[in-house]
């Protein structure tokens, strides 16, 4: 599998969420995703970028386009925040430590094909999502 484009975007300020959405939209359109698939991956990215800022205290997103047997878009969100103590609980709909609806993490997972999360309390959180064409 070949990784074609790799770039990193800051996810620190609120306006970065808008930049993330815009860039993910551009890349998924370039890869030839359907409009529905573009919308799903952009929405997932928006949720995770917001989480990175609100819960992780800011971080970054790495964007990779994959071209192997299948074409896909892989996004990695990483922060050095407080981490997630109970990942299963955090993925459950309705669970929130913030003021949101508690749909961000579980919702983002439903919108993509692959979802990987690694987090340790005190060390940060890394979430990798992939949407295949």
């Amino acid at each position: 599998m070949a990784v074609l484009v790799t770039e990193t975007l800051p996810v620190k300020a609120e306006s970065d969420v808008v930049s993330v959405r815009r860039r993910v939209r551009e890349m998924s359109a370039q890869l030839g995703f359907t409009l529905v698939d573009q919308t799903k991956v952009v929405t997932a990215a928006s949720e995770l970028a917001r989480n990175t800022i609100i819960h992780g205290g800011g971080g970054m997103m790495q964007l990779e386009t994959l071209n192997g047997p299948r074409v896909g878009l892989r996004l990695t969100f990483e922060d050095k925040g407080p981490g997630i103590a109970d990942i299963a609980l955090a993925l459950r709909d309705g669970f929130t430590t913030g003021s949101g609806l508690g749909l961000g993490l579980g919702g983002a997972k439903r919108l993509v094909t692959d979802f990987d999360i690694a987090s340790r309390p005190g060390e940060g959180t890394k979430i990798i999502i992939t949407r295949w064409k």
């Binding site: 808008v18 959405r21 573009q38 919308t39 929405t43 949101g100 609806l101 749909l103 961000g104 919702g107």
Partner: protein, 129 residues
């Protein structure tokens, strides 16, 4: 600071969201609309989201809040023009916008608002004209 304009048309307030909103802009719209409903004694709010390319949980929550706040202030809210791809994504995300009335386009939304105002006048009588 950047703001989303709110137009007044008779008893109704109209908002067309044409920019990719960052969260603070969405919060400001919520506050501005609530204040305008109270100031203008509007009976209805129409929010056109046909230009919005995504509705995530934050924007979804804002739409729900606006609908709830306007109801408390005796006004109805209708959200119009959601793109099909946005609707599909929203439901998969887990948001079905409970309490938010929707219509396919501005015309249908205005009709819905007019009917609901008339219906509440007939049912409860009106202390407002």
């Amino acid at each position: 600071m950047e703001k989303i304009p709110i137009l007044r048309m008779g008893d109704f307030l109209l908002v067309t969201i044409q920019v990719d909103m960052h969260d603070r802009l969405a919060m400001a719209l919520q506050d501005d609309l609530t204040r305008m409903i109270s100031d203008t004694e509007a009976r209805g709010v129409l929010i056109d989201i046909s230009s919005l390319e995504i509705v995530d949980s934050f924007i979804g929550r804002m739409l729900g809040n606006i609908a709830a706040m306007s109801r408390v202030l005796d006004a109805n809210t209708v959200v119009v023009g959601m793109q099909p791809a946005v609707a599909i994504t929203l439901v998969e995300l887990g948001l079905s916008l409970p309490g938010v009335r929707t219509a396919l386009n501005v015309d249908a939304g205005m009709e819905l608002l007019r009917n609901s105002v008339n219906a509440s006048r007939e049912t409860y009588g009106s202390t407002r004209n």
